[in-house]
Subunit: 112 residues, 2 copies
């Protein structure tokens, strides 16, 4: 048997962060481009943008800032707050994964 | 912000136990009746029975035994293995819930 879990964070009862959402933000940070992040997640630009706006609305914080286009087109990047948030979420996820495995072993694999 | 999680246990890639499934088994144990447990979960008897059989199949273990009807009709109860399994799952769930809250506080509520 293997334990499984799905993790997310709500604010005022609304979905704020999830593995999926944080992956999108992480990709924006890594690629410097919302279009590229969207493509890597097989999302339309419009849908990815809507997702970012929804996260910002639900958390009431600005997470992504876009530079105006130029020769190479505009880019997008995370705000300091956006970066801090994904780091916290990833730290949270890693800790939960570790604890989950330990809790499962304690509950299931030892004698009563 | 509040952390949320959904927990389940798979065996060989198949869903074996979840909060919902364990709640059904727990109700069979408490009421001594599959019909009553099904009613409390607003499931048809047939659907509840199918769920129990599916859990047993996926775990390859007998969890519920039924007595033949008599004056008061037959009853159902958990096998010793069934009871042990739900106790383990509930212990697992409680530990994860506690760790989740602690991991969230550590990741999100303290400075960096």
């Amino acid at each position: 048997m293997e334990p499984r879990s799905k993790l997310w964070v709500e604010k005022d009862g609304k979905l704020a962060l999830s593995d999926y959402r944080v992956r999108l933000l992480r990709l924006i940070d890594e690629t410097g481009s919302l279009a590229e992040a969207a493509a890597q997640m097989q999302l339309s630009y419009r849908r990815a943008w809507g997702k970012v706006k929804e996260i910002e609305r639900n958390l009431d914080v600005k997470l992504v800032e876009s530079a105006a286009g130029g020769a190479g087109g505009g880019g997008s990047r995370l705000t300091a707050e956006g970066r801090r948030l994904i780091e916290r979420y990833e730290r949270f996820g890693a800790a939960v994964e570790q604890d989950l495995a330990r809790d499962f072993a304690r509950a299931f694999e030892r004698d009563p």
